[in-house]
């Protein structure tokens, strides 16, 4: 792409080549339209979905509640210590990308990546305001005039509105959407809400409106990684050189002595490319495999009455078969090969593991921290007291009465710091509020000459479910160890 200066010395810095992709119609353009609609809808609509969780939890379907350290996703509620679920989802997303890449090539880059989707959106804005490729180039080269300034202001304003909407939708994932929108416009939202919207508006405006393919080519590590994961069985967008070359226009073909290839060098594939590359140079890092050049070339081939798919979604293996004149391989067979199956198996295994962990996780938990300073306390009647900080965790969206019981040390009793010692007993009952952890400070007292020993606190929910937990801890005394 970057050729040396004619004088022989290369420029130190590469000036950006402006790209004005031409509008195109075709199969892949339609797929891109549809998928753009789906991805944008997911992004903008998700925070507005509601999900009834009862009176003690928010009713937003997807909510990252940083203030209360909860992550809600439909019927799943994740506490901070269960972050491995999120880690699992991220690993699944990673393996999923490997799977998609090995099966259908850089489909993520071409269709789903936010940078691609928003760049596509902004390029449509360009066409809406300035017209198609040629009009855009004319306007770019025209001197500044009221007309040009007006067009630019209009275009950038639309960029800005889209960018603001994008940044604005992001914060709705972190708080109750209707409330936050009200607060945002009445100036009552937190400063972090405004600054987040400002930053994301700015990045969307710059990345989608101006940097575009520069992000893919210079900033993003993913094209490098994806490129390394492709093999000869991966689908890529490729130009069938053996069919197209030697290329030449119809006029040149008439004048030529030998028969020319199918490529008429009309440059349509280059003018529709959103990253401004020439696919005929072969697979390259700048190709996000959006396949718009396939649509463009197919149109031209159809007009000329030549076979379509001179530029095609194909595997290198398939190309070799075609070159040798062998029948093409079954597409399913190309996709279902050991590599994709292994990725799929790993992806499924992680998914099933997460589902299993979700289904079997306990919604009640007991944790005990023993006081170590002092480890034990001799009381005036010679009995021995140990102190513990106990946490009762209720992960359900309803308050639950829970009973903590001393399981061992037969003659010991306990009381907590919010009740008099005279009410000490073998068990204590607390109502743990919905979706919360209730801390308790508990004193356990045992008769004189009790020996140091391990024992268990038992926790039981004393409602219909009766689920529970137990934790081992230590009772220290001045006596000899058992």
């Amino acid at each position: 792409m970057h050729t040396a200066e004619p004088g022989g010395s290369a420029l130190l810095y590469q000036k950006r080549k402006s790209i004005f992709p031409k509008a195109v119609k075709g199969k892949f353009r339609s797929i891109k339209w549809g998928w753009m609609g789906v991805t944008l809808a997911i992004y903008y609509v998700t925070p507005w979905l509601r999900w009834d969780r009862g009176p003690y939890a928010p009713d937003q379907a997807v909510l990252v509640d940083l203030a209360h350290r909860r992550f809600y996703m439909f019927s799943i509620e994740i506490w901070p210590q269960e972050f491995y679920f999120v880690a699992g989802l991220l690993i699944m997303a990673g393996i999923g990308l490997f799977l998609v890449t090995s099966a259908v090539g850089r489909a993520w880059c071409g269709y789903s990546c936010p940078q691609t989707v928003w760049t596509d959106l902004f390029q449509h804005v360009d066409r809406l305001v300035d017209g198609d490729r040629n009009a855009q180039i004319r306007l770019q080269n025209a001197p500044w005039s009221v007309h040009k300034i007006g067009k630019r202001v209009l275009k950038w304003s639309i960029y800005l509105v889209i960018s603001f909407w994008t940044g604005g939708a992001w914060i709705l994932y972190f708080a109750d959407a209707p409330t936050l929108v009200r607060d945002f416009w009445s100036g009552q939202a937190l400063p972090v809400a405004y600054s987040t919207v400002a930053i994301l508006t700015a990045t969307t405006f710059v990345f989608g409106g101006f940097l575009r393919e520069q992000v893919c080519i210079y900033m993003c590590p993913w094209p490098r990684i994806q490129t390394a994961m492709l093999d000869e069985s991966s689908l890529i967008v490729t130009y069938k050189g053996w069919r197209g070359e030697p290329r030449g226009s119809l006029k040149e073909a008439k004048a030529a002595e030998t028969t020319l290839g199918d490529c008429v060098d009309c440059n349509q594939c280059v003018s529709v490319c959103p990253t401004g590359i020439d696919i005929r140079e072969g697979p390259q890092i700048g190709c996000i495999t959006c396949a718009l050049c396939v649509d463009a070339c197919d149109q031209v081939m159809a007009q000329l009455g030549r076979p379509r798919r001179l530029i095609d979604y194909a595997t290198l293996e398939g190309c070799e078969r075609e070159l040798k004149g062998e029948p093409p391989e079954n597409v399913l067979k190309a996709i279902l090969r050991p590599r994709t199956l292994v990725y799929f198996a790993v992806w499924c295994a992680i998914g099933l593991g997460l589902l299993f962990a979700l289904g079997t996780r306990k919604h009640i938990d007991l944790s005990v921290a023993k006081d170590r300073n002092p480890a034990f306390m001799l009381m005036s009647d010679g009995s021995v007291r140990n102190a513990y900080t106990i946490k009762l965790r209720n992960m359900e969206n309803r308050p639950r009465p829970m009973e903590v019981t001393l399981n061992d040390i037969p003659q010991a009793v306990m009381w907590s710091d919010d009740m008099p010692r005279s009410e000490a007993d073998r068990s204590l009952v607390r109502v743990v509020p919905a979706d919360q952890t209730e801390p308790m400070r508990v004193f356990v007292i045992a008769p004189p000459r009790t020996l140091p020993q391990d024992f268990h606190f038992k926790l039981r929910a004393i409602d219909t479910d009766g689920s529970g937990d137990s934790e081992k801890t230590r009772f220290d005394t001045p006596g000899e160890s058992e």
Binding site: A4, Y13, Q214, P374, M377, M379, R385, P401, E403, I462
Partner: protein, 317 residues
């Protein structure tokens, strides 16, 4: 190997066929480097970073000088920020502190939230002011400073008594409400002879079952009634008015061995504690008292709320 060039000139530069890009002209074992230029916006980002850095140096402290750094136009310092944040925290605590100062300590348990705030604040204040003698766990030091976790109190263990002890200290001549008493040095001042001391020691040790009664303790009982019962009580249960410890229980600040008790009889003990009233504000003293009371030995605990639904428990069973 012909292309190796130590002078750094690019006479070996050529156009790479596959990419159409010029090489830099160096070759290492057949590996060459393409001379791809950086994008221009990258250069502008670099300039923008330089501009930002200059701005930073102007407004923030940045360049170290001999004794201090350049102050910066905004005059920001980390100490200043700390002071600001501390002031803000003080301001946020002001309401609680005012309520604490206005609430008599014996009424604290009726307001569980305020009580909890007092205990938490007291824990912090204890770490600053009290751990030097009483220890981080408030377990004291045998022979020197009493343990505050247990249920033995020299001067009283309810909230009010603890607050007074902290505020006015122990044996502080400059404070007229201080806790004060003086045990005579029976041995040193010749009030008891050595055999008499032995007998009193025997008797005191029988009170908590450390020794079986015998002839010596029998003689000691008479001496105890004559010399000690005034403060320690006829049964040796102590008297908090004088800070006289209970001699019948298992807790011995100065030791329970014959030697330790004998030494106490000879020279007596008179522990001291500063009066904190002039050093700490009343709310902090109240918080300290609440914290010490919460350590597990506090007396006269009024249940704050029926947080233990005993009846409900039984119903569910």
């Amino acid at each position: 190997m012909a292309n190796i060039d130590n002078t750094g000139s690019t006479h070996g530069a050529r156009i790479d066929e596959a990419t159409g890009v010029e090489t830099v002209g160096h070759e290492w074992d057949g590996i060459e480097e393409l001379n791809n230029p950086l994008p221009r916006w990258w250069l502008w980002s670099f300039y923008a970073c330089i501009a930002f850095a200059i701005g930073y140096v102007v407004v923030y402290p940045a360049i170290p000088l001999l004794d201090r750094g350049t102050p910066g136009l905004w005059g920001w310092t980390s100490r200043g920020q700390l002071a600001e944040e501390s002031a803000l925290a003080e301001q946020q605590r002001a309401g609680v502190m005012a309520r604490l100062a206005a609430t008599p300590i014996e009424q604290l348990p009726r307001d569980p939230a305020l009580m909890q705030a007092a205990v938490d604040g007291g824990r912090a204040a204890f770490r600053v002011n009290c751990v030097q003698c009483h220890g981080a766990g408030a377990a004291g030091v045998p022979g020197h400073y009493p343990n505050l976790n247990d249920d033995e109190w020299l001067w009283g263990g309810d909230l009010k008594a603890i607050e007074r002890t902290i505020a006015h200290g122990i044996r502080q001549p400059s404070d007229d409400q201080t806790r004060s008493s003086l045990m005579p040095s029976f041995g040193r001042d010749g009030l008891l002879t050595a055999p008499q001391k032995d007998d009193v020691t025997s008797y005191v040790r029988t009170l908590s079952g450390l020794e079986k009664p015998d002839a010596s303790s029998g003689r000691g009982a008479e001496l105890f009634a004559a010399n000690c019962a005034a403060c320690h009580g006829p049964a040796g249960r102590g008297d908090r008015q004088f800070g006289a410890p209970n001699l019948t229980d298992a807790i011995w600040l100065y030791g329970a061995s014959r030697e330790a008790i004998g030494a106490t009889l000879t020279n007596a003990h008179a522990g001291v504690m500063p009066a904190w009233a002039g050093k700490l504000d009343p709310a902090t003293i109240r918080m300290l008292a609440a914290y010490v009371h919460s350590l597990g030995g506090g007396e006269d605990f009024a249940p704050t709320s029926p947080s233990t639904p005993k009846v409900a428990t039984d119903a569910h069973r």
